[in-house]
Amino acid sequence: MTLLRQALLVAGKDLRIEARSRVALNQVLPFAGIVLLLFAFALDPDRGILPRVAPGLFWVAVLLAGLLAISRAFAVEGENGVRDALRLSGLDGAAVFCGKALAVAAQLLALEVVLGIGVVVLYDLHLHNPLVVVLASLAATAGLAAAGTVYGVLAAGLRVRETLFPLLVLPVVAPVMLGATRAWEAALSGAPSEAWPWVQLLAVFGVIYTTMGWLAFGPLLEET
Protein backbone atom coordinates (compact mmCIF):
# COMPACT_ATOMS: atom_id res chain seq x y z
CA MET A 1 0.00 0.00 0.00
CA THR A 2 1.49 3.32 -0.98
CA LEU A 3 1.96 6.13 1.48
CA LEU A 4 -0.66 8.23 -0.26
CA ARG A 5 -3.24 5.47 -0.09
CA GLN A 6 -2.54 4.99 3.65
CA ALA A 7 -2.84 8.72 4.24
CA LEU A 8 -6.14 8.87 2.38
CA LEU A 9 -7.43 5.93 4.44
CA VAL A 10 -6.68 7.74 7.70
CA ALA A 11 -8.09 11.02 6.40
CA GLY A 12 -11.21 9.22 5.18
CA LYS A 13 -11.68 7.57 8.55
CA ASP A 14 -11.42 10.90 10.39
CA LEU A 15 -13.73 12.71 8.02
CA ARG A 16 -16.25 9.87 8.19
CA ILE A 17 -16.28 10.05 11.99
CA GLU A 18 -16.77 13.79 11.68
CA ALA A 19 -19.58 13.42 9.16
CA ARG A 20 -21.39 11.03 11.47
CA SER A 21 -20.81 12.73 14.82
CA ARG A 22 -21.20 16.28 13.44
CA VAL A 23 -19.24 17.76 16.35
CA ALA A 24 -17.49 20.26 14.09
CA LEU A 25 -20.75 21.26 12.48
CA ASN A 26 -22.80 21.50 15.66
CA GLN A 27 -20.17 22.84 18.06
CA VAL A 28 -17.07 24.26 16.38
CA LEU A 29 -18.86 26.31 13.69
CA PRO A 30 -21.32 27.94 16.09
CA PHE A 31 -18.37 28.72 18.37
CA ALA A 32 -16.60 30.48 15.50
CA GLY A 33 -19.79 32.40 14.76
CA ILE A 34 -20.16 33.68 18.30
CA VAL A 35 -16.48 34.72 18.26
CA LEU A 36 -17.25 36.93 15.24
CA LEU A 37 -20.15 38.51 17.15
CA LEU A 38 -17.97 39.08 20.22
CA PHE A 39 -15.39 40.94 18.13
CA ALA A 40 -18.14 43.26 16.97
CA PHE A 41 -19.17 43.84 20.61
CA ALA A 42 -15.57 44.61 21.57
CA LEU A 43 -14.96 47.00 18.64
CA ASP A 44 -17.78 49.40 18.00
CA PRO A 45 -19.20 48.34 14.58
CA ASP A 46 -20.50 51.83 13.77
CA ARG A 47 -17.09 53.49 13.60
CA GLY A 48 -15.84 51.57 10.62
CA ILE A 49 -13.12 49.72 12.54
CA LEU A 50 -14.41 46.26 11.70
CA PRO A 51 -13.74 46.20 7.92
CA ARG A 52 -10.22 47.52 8.52
CA VAL A 53 -9.26 44.91 11.08
CA ALA A 54 -11.39 42.13 9.58
CA PRO A 55 -8.42 40.07 8.23
CA GLY A 56 -6.87 39.86 11.69
CA LEU A 57 -10.18 39.04 13.35
CA PHE A 58 -10.90 36.41 10.72
CA TRP A 59 -7.62 34.61 11.35
CA VAL A 60 -7.93 34.83 15.13
CA ALA A 61 -11.39 33.28 14.83
CA VAL A 62 -10.02 30.55 12.53
CA LEU A 63 -7.21 29.87 15.00
CA LEU A 64 -9.50 29.64 18.05
CA ALA A 65 -12.04 27.42 16.33
CA GLY A 66 -9.22 25.45 14.70
CA LEU A 67 -7.80 24.62 18.14
CA LEU A 68 -11.11 22.98 18.99
CA ALA A 69 -11.17 21.07 15.70
CA ILE A 70 -7.63 19.74 16.22
CA SER A 71 -8.30 18.75 19.85
CA ARG A 72 -11.35 16.92 18.59
CA ALA A 73 -9.30 15.13 15.91
CA PHE A 74 -7.19 13.60 18.68
CA ALA A 75 -9.98 13.11 21.18
CA VAL A 76 -11.50 10.54 18.81
CA GLU A 77 -8.21 8.58 18.98
CA GLY A 78 -8.40 8.46 22.77
CA GLU A 79 -11.62 6.47 22.85
CA ASN A 80 -11.90 2.70 22.53
CA GLY A 81 -8.13 2.27 22.28
CA VAL A 82 -8.04 3.66 18.74
CA ARG A 83 -4.51 4.88 19.32
CA ASP A 84 -3.31 1.35 19.96
CA ALA A 85 -5.26 0.12 16.96
CA LEU A 86 -3.58 2.74 14.78
CA ARG A 87 -0.18 1.61 16.02
CA LEU A 88 -0.98 -2.03 15.42
CA SER A 89 -2.44 -1.36 11.99
CA GLY A 90 1.02 -1.30 10.42
CA LEU A 91 0.39 2.09 8.83
CA ASP A 92 3.45 4.25 8.35
CA GLY A 93 3.78 7.02 10.96
CA ALA A 94 4.32 9.60 8.24
CA ALA A 95 1.18 8.39 6.46
CA VAL A 96 -0.88 8.66 9.64
CA PHE A 97 0.44 12.17 10.06
CA CYS A 98 -0.47 13.15 6.50
CA GLY A 99 -3.92 11.61 6.85
CA LYS A 100 -4.72 13.35 10.10
CA ALA A 101 -3.31 16.65 8.82
CA LEU A 102 -5.37 16.32 5.63
CA ALA A 103 -8.56 15.72 7.58
CA VAL A 104 -7.79 18.68 9.85
CA ALA A 105 -6.99 20.84 6.81
CA ALA A 106 -10.30 19.89 5.16
CA GLN A 107 -12.18 20.91 8.29
CA LEU A 108 -10.22 24.14 8.61
CA LEU A 109 -10.97 25.01 4.98
CA ALA A 110 -14.68 24.45 5.53
CA LEU A 111 -14.43 26.61 8.64
CA GLU A 112 -12.65 29.33 6.65
CA VAL A 113 -15.32 29.35 3.95
CA VAL A 114 -18.09 29.80 6.51
CA LEU A 115 -16.16 32.39 8.52
CA GLY A 116 -15.25 34.15 5.25
CA ILE A 117 -18.92 34.51 4.43
CA GLY A 118 -19.38 35.66 8.03
CA VAL A 119 -16.85 38.51 7.78
CA VAL A 120 -18.16 39.58 4.37
CA VAL A 121 -21.73 39.75 5.68
CA LEU A 122 -21.18 40.92 9.24
CA TYR A 123 -18.11 43.16 8.83
CA ASP A 124 -18.95 44.53 5.38
CA LEU A 125 -15.69 43.31 3.88
CA HIS A 126 -15.14 43.50 0.11
CA LEU A 127 -13.16 40.61 -1.31
CA HIS A 128 -10.68 42.02 -3.81
CA ASN A 129 -8.08 39.80 -5.50
CA PRO A 130 -9.85 36.55 -4.64
CA LEU A 131 -7.04 34.44 -6.14
CA VAL A 132 -4.45 35.85 -3.70
CA VAL A 133 -6.88 35.49 -0.81
CA VAL A 134 -7.56 31.84 -1.67
CA LEU A 135 -3.88 30.98 -2.19
CA ALA A 136 -2.89 32.65 1.09
CA SER A 137 -5.63 30.75 2.89
CA LEU A 138 -4.56 27.43 1.38
CA ALA A 139 -0.92 27.96 2.34
CA ALA A 140 -1.86 29.10 5.85
CA THR A 141 -4.19 26.14 6.30
CA ALA A 142 -1.40 23.73 5.40
CA GLY A 143 0.85 25.29 8.05
CA LEU A 144 -1.88 25.35 10.71
CA ALA A 145 -2.95 21.77 10.05
CA ALA A 146 0.62 20.41 10.05
CA ALA A 147 1.76 22.24 13.20
CA GLY A 148 -1.53 21.50 14.94
CA THR A 149 -1.29 17.80 14.15
CA VAL A 150 2.25 17.53 15.55
CA TYR A 151 1.26 19.14 18.84
CA GLY A 152 -2.08 17.40 18.85
CA VAL A 153 -0.46 13.97 19.03
CA LEU A 154 2.08 15.28 21.53
CA ALA A 155 -0.65 16.44 23.92
CA ALA A 156 -3.12 13.63 23.19
CA GLY A 157 -3.57 11.28 26.10
CA LEU A 158 -2.13 13.67 28.67
CA ARG A 159 -4.31 14.57 31.60
CA VAL A 160 -3.65 18.29 31.07
CA ARG A 161 -4.13 18.23 27.28
CA GLU A 162 -6.94 20.82 27.16
CA THR A 163 -4.76 23.48 28.75
CA LEU A 164 -1.36 22.38 27.51
CA PHE A 165 -2.24 22.05 23.83
CA PRO A 166 -3.09 25.74 23.21
CA LEU A 167 0.01 26.87 25.12
CA LEU A 168 2.22 24.62 22.99
CA VAL A 169 0.68 25.28 19.62
CA LEU A 170 -0.13 29.00 19.69
CA PRO A 171 3.46 30.32 19.77
CA VAL A 172 4.30 27.94 16.93
CA VAL A 173 1.44 29.01 14.67
CA ALA A 174 1.79 32.70 15.56
CA PRO A 175 3.96 33.31 12.44
CA VAL A 176 1.31 31.65 10.24
CA MET A 177 -1.38 33.86 11.66
CA LEU A 178 0.85 36.91 11.15
CA GLY A 179 1.61 36.01 7.53
CA ALA A 180 -1.97 35.14 6.65
CA THR A 181 -3.29 38.38 8.15
CA ARG A 182 -0.74 40.51 6.26
CA ALA A 183 -1.40 38.70 2.98
CA TRP A 184 -5.15 39.21 3.34
CA GLU A 185 -4.71 42.84 4.28
CA ALA A 186 -2.55 43.52 1.25
CA ALA A 187 -4.88 41.65 -1.11
CA LEU A 188 -8.03 43.27 0.22
CA SER A 189 -6.60 46.77 0.15
CA GLY A 190 -5.84 46.31 -3.54
CA ALA A 191 -2.09 45.76 -3.38
CA PRO A 192 -1.65 42.08 -4.34
CA SER A 193 2.04 42.60 -5.14
CA GLU A 194 2.61 43.19 -1.43
CA ALA A 195 0.73 40.01 -0.61
CA TRP A 196 2.88 37.66 -2.70
CA PRO A 197 5.93 37.63 -0.41
CA TRP A 198 3.62 36.67 2.45
CA VAL A 199 1.99 33.91 0.43
CA GLN A 200 5.41 32.53 -0.39
CA LEU A 201 6.47 32.77 3.24
CA LEU A 202 3.31 30.92 4.26
CA ALA A 203 4.09 28.20 1.72
CA VAL A 204 7.60 27.86 3.19
CA PHE A 205 6.09 27.54 6.70
CA GLY A 206 3.74 24.88 5.39
CA VAL A 207 6.67 22.89 4.00
CA ILE A 208 8.72 23.27 7.21
CA TYR A 209 5.90 22.20 9.53
CA THR A 210 4.93 19.32 7.25
CA THR A 211 8.51 18.05 7.19
CA MET A 212 8.67 18.34 10.97
CA GLY A 213 5.47 16.36 11.35
CA TRP A 214 6.61 13.77 8.81
CA LEU A 215 9.71 13.08 10.91
CA ALA A 216 8.33 13.47 14.42
CA PHE A 217 4.87 11.94 14.22
CA GLY A 218 5.87 8.28 14.12
CA PRO A 219 8.01 8.37 17.29
CA LEU A 220 5.37 10.48 19.07
CA LEU A 221 2.59 8.06 18.21
CA GLU A 222 4.70 5.14 19.41
CA GLU A 223 5.58 6.53 22.80
CA THR A 224 2.71 6.23 25.29
Binding site: L167, L168, P171, V172, A174, P175, L178, F205, P219
Partner: protein
Protein backbone atom coordinates in the same frame (compact mmCIF):
# COMPACT_ATOMS: atom_id res chain seq x y z
CA UNK B 1 37.12 11.04 44.52
CA UNK B 2 34.61 11.88 41.81
CA UNK B 3 32.32 13.47 44.40
CA UNK B 4 35.20 15.49 45.79
CA UNK B 5 36.09 16.78 42.35
CA UNK B 6 32.57 17.84 41.45
CA UNK B 7 32.17 19.59 44.78
CA UNK B 8 35.48 21.32 44.23
CA UNK B 9 34.52 22.18 40.66
CA UNK B 10 31.20 23.65 41.77
CA UNK B 11 32.93 25.72 44.43
CA UNK B 12 35.44 27.06 41.92
CA UNK B 13 32.67 27.88 39.46
CA UNK B 14 30.65 29.58 42.20
CA UNK B 15 33.71 31.58 43.25
CA UNK B 16 34.37 32.70 39.67
CA UNK B 17 30.71 33.72 39.35
CA UNK B 18 30.78 35.82 42.52
CA UNK B 19 34.08 37.50 41.58
CA UNK B 20 33.01 38.26 38.01
CA UNK B 21 29.66 39.61 39.19
CA UNK B 22 31.52 41.86 41.63
CA UNK B 23 33.73 43.10 38.77
CA UNK B 24 30.57 43.78 36.74
CA UNK B 25 29.08 45.81 39.62
CA UNK B 26 32.22 47.91 39.90
CA UNK B 27 32.65 48.43 36.15
CA UNK B 28 28.96 48.90 35.43
CA UNK B 29 27.98 51.15 38.29
CA UNK B 30 31.17 53.11 39.04
CA UNK B 31 33.81 52.94 36.30
CA UNK B 32 31.59 53.20 33.19
CA UNK B 33 30.71 56.72 32.03
CA UNK B 34 27.09 57.48 31.31
CA UNK B 35 26.22 57.24 27.61
CA UNK B 36 25.92 60.63 25.87
CA UNK B 37 22.47 59.73 24.56
CA UNK B 38 21.05 57.22 27.03
CA UNK B 39 22.61 58.64 30.17
CA UNK B 40 22.72 56.30 33.14
CA UNK B 41 20.13 54.05 31.56
CA UNK B 42 22.94 52.51 29.55
CA UNK B 43 23.98 50.65 32.71
CA UNK B 44 20.90 48.44 32.27
CA UNK B 45 22.44 47.29 28.99
CA UNK B 46 25.26 45.61 30.92
CA UNK B 47 22.60 43.24 32.25
CA UNK B 48 20.14 43.20 29.36
CA UNK B 49 22.59 42.20 26.62
CA UNK B 50 24.27 39.41 28.64
CA UNK B 51 20.86 38.09 29.72
CA UNK B 52 19.79 37.88 26.07
CA UNK B 53 23.05 36.13 25.19
CA UNK B 54 22.59 33.60 27.98
CA UNK B 55 19.04 32.80 26.90
CA UNK B 56 20.25 31.99 23.38
CA UNK B 57 23.11 29.94 24.79
CA UNK B 58 20.73 28.07 27.09
CA UNK B 59 18.30 27.22 24.29
CA UNK B 60 21.23 26.15 22.13
CA UNK B 61 22.35 23.74 24.86
CA UNK B 62 18.76 22.45 25.23
CA UNK B 63 18.51 21.77 21.50
CA UNK B 64 21.91 20.11 21.32
CA UNK B 65 21.21 17.90 24.34
CA UNK B 66 17.79 16.97 22.92
CA UNK B 67 19.35 16.04 19.58
CA UNK B 68 21.94 13.93 21.39
CA UNK B 69 19.15 12.17 23.25
CA UNK B 70 17.22 11.43 20.08
CA UNK B 71 20.28 10.16 18.24
CA UNK B 72 20.35 6.45 19.07
CA UNK B 73 24.13 6.19 19.48
CA UNK B 74 24.31 8.87 22.14
CA UNK B 75 20.95 8.22 23.81
CA UNK B 76 21.22 8.64 27.57
CA UNK B 77 18.89 9.97 30.23
CA UNK B 78 21.45 12.59 31.26
CA UNK B 79 20.94 14.52 28.00
CA UNK B 80 17.26 14.94 28.71
CA UNK B 81 17.98 16.07 32.27
CA UNK B 82 20.53 18.56 30.95
CA UNK B 83 18.10 19.85 28.31
CA UNK B 84 15.45 20.48 30.95
CA UNK B 85 17.88 22.21 33.32
CA UNK B 86 19.17 24.47 30.57
CA UNK B 87 15.69 25.37 29.29
CA UNK B 88 14.63 26.44 32.77
CA UNK B 89 17.55 28.83 33.01
CA UNK B 90 16.85 29.98 29.45
CA UNK B 91 13.25 30.91 30.30
CA UNK B 92 14.45 32.73 33.43
CA UNK B 93 16.94 34.78 31.42
CA UNK B 94 14.49 35.45 28.57
CA UNK B 95 12.08 36.84 31.15
CA UNK B 96 14.91 38.94 32.59
CA UNK B 97 15.83 40.16 29.11
CA UNK B 98 12.27 41.34 28.47
CA UNK B 99 11.90 42.93 31.91
CA UNK B 100 15.26 44.72 31.77
CA UNK B 101 14.64 45.86 28.21
CA UNK B 102 11.30 47.27 29.28
CA UNK B 103 12.88 49.12 32.20
CA UNK B 104 15.49 50.52 29.82
CA UNK B 105 12.95 51.45 27.15
CA UNK B 106 10.89 53.61 29.48
CA UNK B 107 13.53 56.34 30.06
CA UNK B 108 15.23 56.03 26.64
CA UNK B 109 12.33 55.48 24.21
CA UNK B 110 9.62 56.76 26.54
CA UNK B 111 7.64 53.51 26.20
CA UNK B 112 7.62 50.26 28.16
CA UNK B 113 7.14 48.20 25.04
CA UNK B 114 7.82 48.69 21.32
CA UNK B 115 6.56 46.48 18.51
CA UNK B 116 10.07 45.95 17.32
CA UNK B 117 10.93 42.71 15.50
CA UNK B 118 13.47 41.54 18.03
CA UNK B 119 11.32 42.31 21.05
CA UNK B 120 8.32 40.51 19.62
CA UNK B 121 10.29 37.44 18.59
CA UNK B 122 11.89 37.30 22.05
CA UNK B 123 8.41 37.39 23.61
CA UNK B 124 7.24 34.53 21.35
CA UNK B 125 10.41 32.62 22.26
CA UNK B 126 9.55 33.08 25.94
CA UNK B 127 6.10 31.51 25.47
CA UNK B 128 7.49 28.78 23.25
CA UNK B 129 9.81 27.53 25.97
CA UNK B 130 7.30 28.12 28.76
CA UNK B 131 5.20 25.57 26.89
CA UNK B 132 8.18 23.24 26.74
CA UNK B 133 8.66 23.53 30.51
CA UNK B 134 4.96 22.87 31.05
CA UNK B 135 5.29 19.73 28.94
CA UNK B 136 8.23 18.61 31.09
CA UNK B 137 6.10 18.90 34.22
CA UNK B 138 3.57 16.38 32.89
CA UNK B 139 4.16 13.18 34.83
CA UNK B 140 5.26 10.24 32.69
CA UNK B 141 7.73 7.42 32.64
CA UNK B 142 11.20 8.93 32.27
CA UNK B 143 11.97 7.42 28.85
CA UNK B 144 8.58 8.48 27.47
CA UNK B 145 8.96 11.98 28.84
CA UNK B 146 12.50 12.28 27.55
CA UNK B 147 11.53 11.34 24.00
CA UNK B 148 8.45 13.54 23.99
CA UNK B 149 10.32 16.54 25.39
CA UNK B 150 13.33 16.09 23.11
CA UNK B 151 11.08 16.19 20.06
CA UNK B 152 9.23 19.22 21.43
CA UNK B 153 12.55 20.99 22.06
CA UNK B 154 13.74 20.36 18.50
CA UNK B 155 10.42 21.51 17.04
CA UNK B 156 10.71 24.69 19.11
CA UNK B 157 14.28 25.14 17.90
CA UNK B 158 13.18 24.85 14.26
CA UNK B 159 10.44 27.34 14.98
CA UNK B 160 12.82 30.03 16.27
CA UNK B 161 14.03 31.18 12.81
CA UNK B 162 10.46 30.92 11.46
CA UNK B 163 9.21 33.29 14.14
CA UNK B 164 12.20 35.53 13.68
CA UNK B 165 11.83 35.91 9.91
CA UNK B 166 8.10 36.47 9.92
CA UNK B 167 8.27 39.11 12.63
CA UNK B 168 11.28 40.77 11.02
CA UNK B 169 9.37 41.02 7.71
CA UNK B 170 6.30 42.28 9.43
CA UNK B 171 8.09 45.15 11.10
CA UNK B 172 10.41 46.08 8.24
CA UNK B 173 7.63 46.01 5.64
CA UNK B 174 5.53 48.32 7.74
CA UNK B 175 7.83 50.77 9.41
CA UNK B 176 11.20 51.63 8.01
CA UNK B 177 14.12 52.18 10.33
CA UNK B 178 13.15 50.85 13.73
CA UNK B 179 14.50 52.34 16.90
CA UNK B 180 16.66 49.34 17.41
CA UNK B 181 19.00 50.29 14.59
CA UNK B 182 20.52 52.91 16.82
CA UNK B 183 21.12 50.38 19.53
CA UNK B 184 23.31 48.37 17.14
CA UNK B 185 25.71 51.30 17.17
CA UNK B 186 29.10 49.67 16.61
CA UNK B 187 30.96 52.63 18.05
CA UNK B 188 30.61 51.40 21.61
CA UNK B 189 34.03 51.81 23.14
CA UNK B 190 36.17 52.59 26.15
CA UNK B 191 34.97 51.67 29.60
CA UNK B 192 31.44 51.03 28.30
CA UNK B 193 32.72 48.16 26.18
CA UNK B 194 34.66 46.73 29.11
CA UNK B 195 31.61 46.86 31.34
CA UNK B 196 29.55 45.07 28.69
CA UNK B 197 32.23 42.44 28.22
CA UNK B 198 32.48 41.84 31.96
CA UNK B 199 28.69 41.44 32.00
CA UNK B 200 28.86 38.74 29.33
CA UNK B 201 31.65 36.92 31.18
CA UNK B 202 29.89 37.15 34.56
CA UNK B 203 26.58 35.93 33.17
CA UNK B 204 28.26 33.05 31.36
CA UNK B 205 29.81 31.89 34.65
CA UNK B 206 26.45 32.40 36.34
CA UNK B 207 24.77 30.27 33.67
CA UNK B 208 27.30 27.47 34.04
CA UNK B 209 26.97 27.55 37.82
CA UNK B 210 23.17 27.53 37.74
CA UNK B 211 23.18 24.79 35.11
CA UNK B 212 25.44 22.61 37.20
CA UNK B 213 23.31 23.16 40.33
CA UNK B 214 20.03 22.57 38.49
CA UNK B 215 21.37 19.46 36.82
CA UNK B 216 22.50 17.98 40.16
CA UNK B 217 19.16 18.86 41.69
CA UNK B 218 17.36 17.08 38.87
CA UNK B 219 19.50 13.98 39.41
CA UNK B 220 18.70 14.08 43.13
CA UNK B 221 15.00 14.49 42.34
CA UNK B 222 15.12 11.42 40.14
CA UNK B 223 16.94 9.46 42.84
CA UNK B 224 14.39 10.49 45.48
CA UNK B 225 11.54 9.54 43.19
CA UNK B 226 13.05 6.11 42.70
CA UNK B 227 13.61 5.66 46.41
CA UNK B 228 10.10 6.76 47.33
CA UNK B 229 8.74 4.26 44.87
CA UNK B 230 10.82 1.48 46.42
CA UNK B 231 9.72 2.51 49.90
CA UNK B 232 6.06 2.54 48.86
CA UNK B 233 6.38 -0.94 47.37
CA UNK B 234 8.07 -2.22 50.52
CA UNK B 235 5.30 -0.69 52.65
CA UNK B 236 2.55 -2.34 50.62
CA UNK B 237 4.38 -5.65 50.96
CA UNK B 238 4.64 -5.25 54.70
CA UNK B 239 0.94 -4.40 54.91
CA UNK B 240 0.03 -7.50 52.96
CA UNK B 241 2.15 -9.64 55.24
CA UNK B 242 0.60 -8.17 58.39
CA UNK B 243 -2.90 -9.28 57.35
CA UNK B 244 -3.57 -12.82 58.66
CA UNK B 245 -4.29 -15.31 55.95
CA UNK B 246 -2.71 -13.11 53.30
CA UNK B 247 -0.20 -14.49 50.85
CA UNK B 248 3.27 -14.87 52.32
CA UNK B 249 2.19 -15.38 55.96
CA UNK B 250 4.05 -18.31 57.56
CA UNK B 251 1.93 -21.45 58.11
CA UNK B 252 2.98 -21.99 61.73
CA UNK B 253 1.07 -18.91 62.96
CA UNK B 254 -2.23 -20.63 62.33
Amino acid sequence: MQKFWTRRGTAVLGGLTVVSLAVLVVLGLFVSDPDFQQGDAVRLMYLHVPAAWISYLAYGVTSLASALYLWKRTRAQVWDTLAGASAEIGVLFTGLTLALGSLWGRPVWNVWWAWDARIVSTAVLFFLYLGYLALRKVPAESAVRARRCSIAALVAFVDVPVVHFSVEWWRTLHQKGTVFNRELNPSIQGNLAWALLSGVVAFTFLYLYLLERRYRLALLEEAVEGRELDAAIAERRAEAEAVPGARGVPERVV
